[in-house]
Amino acid sequence: MKKSTKKEQPAAAAHGFEKAQSSPVASLLIRGGRVVDPAQKLDGELDVLLRDGRVAQVAPPGTLKDAAEIVDAKGLVVAPGLIDLHVHLREPGKAYKETIKSGTAAAAAGGFTSVCAMPNTTPVNDSPAITRWMQDPERGAVVNVFPIAAATVASAGERISNYGALHAAGAVAVSDDGLPILDDKVMAGALETAALVGMPVIQHAEDTRLTQGTQMNLGATSFRLGLRGQPAEAEWRMVERDIRLAHGTRGRLHVAHISTARALELVKLGRQTGVAVSAEVTPHHFLFTEEECAGYDSRYKMNPPLRTAADREALLAGLADGSVDAIATDHAPHALFEKEVEFDKAAWGITGLEIALGAALTVLYHERKVPLARIVALLSSNPARIVGFDGRGTLAVGAHADVTLFDLKANWTYDVRKTRSKARNCPYDGMRFKGRPVMTIVGGRVVFRA
């Protein structure tokens, strides 16, 4: 990916979202596009009719006529709405970084129709009340928000929270993201209890006993920079243990933002032995390596850290061959003052909602020739399966009318000044991508138009 100083069209016209919001329609016909729906093994020119918030019909081009609004999708891919399993929307408690409204506006601009929001808010989302509060229409969410509740009370890693009540309130998974569950018994209890309710346990796999004071990946680069490094071992040891516990409890384990080759190998092995384990990879881990930290640019500081070139290759191979289940952004907005500081004082995290699809299409589709159906699966049908969504991640008749239209070939340059997020902590400004979202439809309503 090349940096470009030339500013092209912004990621989306600024007026698109407001106009769309003001014109909800009962029926919408998406005409002439290439429908790619891996859940139905569909890939071809088809028209899609959305009515009353659902997919009403999918039929050969030109056979559907009855609609209040018609979208010309000629030359575009029509995919089931993208689902991000891993975002930080910062509300409640940290609205200066991001709000549910601003974060979901960024999601819509990135082609996402649903986002799963991590519980490391203030206070921690370990209660049905906060879970419901996050989904309240008052929050102004632009796309569907599905809370991931804290796996343990206050994410303290000691007592598991009330999964039944949290699930009933709308939580789709449990996780102590950022504060991994170290205690074997607690993790086993989480897996066992979550399985009873039908939720996966999402683990940020990091043995924090091995990572105190660390700032980046451990290796020759961290040594040269004089920064303390996180060993790959801290991740894979945790994944190894979690798979063992998932096996013993028959629980469902989802490994968040997997970043090392060895951890991915363990996931593959676990799956082969029948363990219900899945894994997600972030755009930044398949785009970058630890070398990016060489300039002490804190925009490249995130957890897990950027790893080696060999790790990146393993992740790309896993994305291509299906051993990685999903692409998730780990969108982690921060205020500038939290990032424009010494590397070891900077907040961890990087935004990613607005570039995820562009990055996937640029690197996976155009550079690595990964089939489009596989990429759509990584961004839509697989995430839907992992969190057990019914009627999302597919364009089957009767499914929710969540649709993402994208242009496979459009070249564009990301301009962070135009971001819909409140935060700008990413290194993507001026970066060129090939392939971009053109329209995002949630529940039959256009919420973003490029």
């Binding site: 040269r224 004089g226 003052f337 500081v341 010494e342």
Partner: protein, 302 residues
């Protein structure tokens, strides 16, 4: 002269010619014969960490060139009140021409340089680099040896935590010396060999020091050894520079230490004060080299 760097952030970004330019200029510098080349220039010495040697020698160097200096200690300023490095830097930029900074965070001077765009001298940043020390070490070696090319230079001690070790190894390697880093694994991880070409590792001091031209000893903090569960007596037995170990090196080898020395720990009195020790020359050369650094970055720029 080759292209002149704006700042001195580390040895890593310098090429051998630029390094030699600093060393050549240092030969012309003498604190006993003040110059006026930086008259009217204002240099801030910002110290977020305590330092005696480095701060005083930069201050004397700046004054010997005619510059106006202001020394700022982090604990006595708005920094202590929570001001960010960026804001402190921006404030200083409007009143000084250059900043010499010592900071506990690796990369702090790189950040300052990027944010301010004025000459920054890294006077030590975390475990990253201490380029003025490496330059003065090279200068000292060149007073005793014709060239660094082909010399065997052994650095012994806590290399992992040492910014001096990193800058030294990079510089000696760039100028063609054979660098041997020596210490136990917790203080010297295997990846240290990847710092540059001609850098090798040794766990055995007697082997490492054999036929060395230069022996560079680094400070080893007892608290640190305890934290890493190293028995002090065992460390001393294996890695302390003694008079008998000095004899394993070449007859004309020199013994160096960037200071502060801990006698009885990394070296004995005999090694520190022996005929081959050049530790005090290093201190004097520190002023000359720092004069050259300031002259190089600020001289002739109006």
């Amino acid at each position: 002269m080759t292209s002149k760097p704006r700042s001195l952030l580390g040895i890593e970004p310098l090429n051998p010619r630029q390094i030699m330019d600093f060393l050549t200029l240092a030969k012309k510098m003498d604190p006993a014969r003040p110059r006026n080349s930086l008259r009217g220039r204002r240099v801030a010495l910002v110290f977020y960490e305590n330092s005696t040697r480095t701060r005083t020698s930069f201050e004397i160097a700046a004054k010997a060139l005619g510059a106006t200096t202001v020394v700022i200690h982090a604990d006595s300023t708005s920094v202590a009140k929570g001001e960010s490095l960026k804001d402190t830097g921006l404030t200083l930029r409007s009143i000084v021409d250059a900043i010499v900074m010592r900071h506990p965070s690796s990369g702090a001077s790189v950040l300052l340089d990027r944010m301010l765009g004025i000459p920054i001298v890294n006077a030590g940043d975390g475990m990253h680099e201490h380029p003025s020390q490496a330059l003065l070490d090279a200068f000292t070696i060149l007073q005793h040896k014709k060239t660094l090319k082909g010399l065997k230079i052994v650095t012994v001690g806590d290399i992992f935590h040492s910014r001096v070790a990193r800058s030294d190894a990079l510089l000696f390697s760039k100028l063609g010396a054979r660098v041997v880093l020596c210490g136990p694994e917790v203080l010297l991880p295997d990846v240290a060999a990847e710092l540059g070409p001609n850098i090798t590792l040794s766990r055995n001091m007697d082997t490492a020091i054999k036929d060395a031209d230069v022996v560079m000893m680094l400070r080893v903090q007892q608290e640190r050894l305890a934290g890493l569960q190293i028995v002090v007596d065992e460390y001393i037995r294996r890695y302390q520079l003694t008079a008998s170990r000095v004899r394993l090196a070449k007859k004309d080898a020199i013994v160096m230490h960037p200071g502060p020395m801990i006698r009885g720990m990394e070296l004995t009195d005999e090694a520190a004060d022996g005929a081959q020790s050049v530790v005090l020359e290093q201190v004097l050369n520190g002023v000359k080299v720092r004069m050259a650094i300031l002259e190089m970055l600020l001289g002739g720029r109006r």
